[in-house]
Symmetry: D2
């Protein structure tokens, strides 16, 4: 696997407005995710909502193999023209890793076609993430399950299309389950949804979580192919007799 | 299976503007599809683009179990508020049967999240539709394959999400293949895409095609259940200890 | 939906050898399952291991639309020739509902191709079964989840092929999750695996469990079609030019 | 991607008994496949039916990351104990690439659980293989489709489980279609079925076919993980309260 060009996108609002979050991620959670991916050998940029074009210019996206997305408070502040741009790039082959509350982002809802709604609770409860597909590269280096000591609960029904591959399912202390690691193909691109981590917990510092994110980035790498051709084919490939 | 309430939606433009189409479907193709479904015992309404709300008022949709959709020339004339309304009803459980050029309708693209693009050619060529999943109710009453003598070609790559179930694949004389019968679940609703028929051919009069449409309507019937609940669950179901 | 012919198969050993089980199912658990299905309008026979051909003669199977299977202690006592016979009938279109410890039956392992192994624990713990696909007929009449007060735990990884459709996931008090309702197509037949119920608990008397079993039987109904044709096709359908 | 250890298995009977086949593959088709994989940087062994243990000792299999399988005339000569051994290794994580008439091999039928039957015809006809999933690594480096000038026809219905991912569909001159590139997960291992090539044609010399085989081998690489744990878990992970 050669080095991939990853852009880590973060809304970056909680870290400025909530003291509790700033304590956990003083430089923004994007810096923690970016650092983890650099340790795994990737070339990483970061981008945030408050930059021009939200940091996602045509040039940046053209040079991005995999985009990671965390948002929560400000989904509606993401401009539609940028969503269109990201959507187009995913269908062209750019990988997209959607994290946690990104389930309600415009780009994820656009790509899924459903409400992406779910049940949730903030009660600092324990989450156990179980591996459902042990043959999958996103499960590389993991055991049968791993624990996140304190997390927000996300519960089923999660209103997404049935994943092409379901890699992980979460157990929550309060009684719920959740499809926590879900793979999709859309156009020439791939999407992975990964459920953790809530902004008030140090989830993205946890080694297993970083391992999954690094594995996912590799799995999301674009395939080296010419673009598919669409539209009018006036000439049959075979004689019509 | 009790009687289902089906609304057959048709753009209805070709039949008015193209003499060639009017000869095939003098009363609009919706009347032919509706009649076929009535013969299979369903309660059927029709609706067209030029009616108020395109014939799809809240009341009509609330009383529709399955909506069928044919459009082509006027996809852009379908109002977004009606698309929103249909989208909401599908997620609530209404079945949706998308026919032929409906692949480019707003509602199908919204539900799929992809471009829904494909290759096409109008050369009156032969199509053979092969059954891929013989256990599926939509294949009820069919043989190994059936032939449509003259059709427009639709060829892969068809830019849709991988179907939850692929029921049929088409062979075309000119050298292409196509995923012609594709099942999806979205929210509490179900979607079936069925590839035939082009407006200049008498495809919807063909018994096998009518059989597939009637089978699909049955498969698309809403499940009798209470709506799923979403949102904040402050109280855990189990003690957090 | 017309009346289906269901054969309820039970190993029937625990009920004879374990006083604890006899108390729960004095006439065998097959009688409880059969009675539930009769209430839902089906025509039901029962068959057990100790009958000639285990009660599964060619005639019985030929007249069975859906076979339900519960076994545990005596999987190895099921004769291979009967397994062959059931396997053949499933591929021909007979539905198969595999219950609980039937995950280790010869017929289920034959159809899955994997070890069908899992984690398990008998600790009388609580199971919550969550609906993952609310559009599915097997979820008809159910809420978001239901509870079985006391059950054996089955935990992931469950070594099965990824289900064609995953309808339910279980949460267990002791920390595990499990794919509890899994749909498969094999040949012209369909298979549903449903996780509950352990022989020492009155699980099959529970209304929600009976509802799922009745729903599953309907979903498993064979499609009315001619058998697919296989083998040598010396004559092309189209001219080879 | 580090170098993978591939074992190319060939029945190797046609090449000895049919002059027509010997002309195409004078040293056996395994040597051609092996050479193609070596050019793509892999470490390749070959093994054939007539060797002790069919060349598949425990040691060989333990040191094999991906096994490729071609057989036809002598499926029944493959010893069950070797099939058991290969089956076990696939579930442990070894990749398996099943080629062409290997669809009827004992190991493929064991892993699929179905008859694996199909339609066939030897008429030297043209095959066009269309890419259905352009995001898939097995489609790396390919265009929209490629042609094999002369091949045996395989036609639907192909009696396999619905693939986890369908990558390619074939068009045949004589009127049939076929699911030609099919991905499966079984246990910790992965399986790819690739339809070409018949023994009397130089299919395995064709660059696109070699590209698919090399891509498939990479996709089939085992994941570096500890084996999943199964069986009795007497101690709950969470307090049962």
């Amino acid at each position: 696997m050669s080095q991939l060009r990853v852009t880590v996108w973060n809304e970056g609002v909680h870290e400025k407005t909530h003291e509790e979050v700033r304590k956990v991620y003083p430089d923004g959670m994007h810096t923690v995710i970016a650092e983890a991916l650099r340790k795994h050998g990737h070339s990483v940029l970061t981008a945030t909502l408050d930059e021009p074009d939200h940091g996602l210019s045509d040039t940046v996206l053209a040079e991005t193999d995999v985009l990671t997305w965390w948002g929560h408070m400000a989904h509606d502040k993401v401009e539609d023209r940028i969503v269109d741009r990201v959507h187009k790039r995913v269908l062209e082959g750019m990988g997209l890793l959607v994290l946690h509350s990104g389930h309600f982002s415009k780009i994820f809802k656009r790509l899924m076609g459903t409400s992406c709604d779910l049940k949730w609770r903030e009660a600092n409860e324990r989450e156990r993430i179980w591996i459902i597909d042990p043959s999958h590269p996103i499960a590389d280096g993991l055991g049968d399950s791993f624990v996140i000591p304190h997390e927000e609960m996300y519960g089923e029904h999660f209103d997404i299309p049935a994943p092409d591959t379901l890699v992980m399912v979460s157990w929550f202390q309060g009684g719920e389950v959740f499809r926590s690691g879900a793979c999709y193909q859309r156009g020439q691109g791939r999407i992975f949804y990964f459920r953790p981590g809530h902004e008030t917990f140090p989830t993205y510092y946890q080694p297993e979580v970083q391992q999954v994110i690094a594995n996912a980035v590799k799995w999301l790498a674009p395939v080296g192919r010419t673009p598919m051709q669409y539209g009018h084919r006036p000439n049959p490939l075979e004689p019509l007799g």
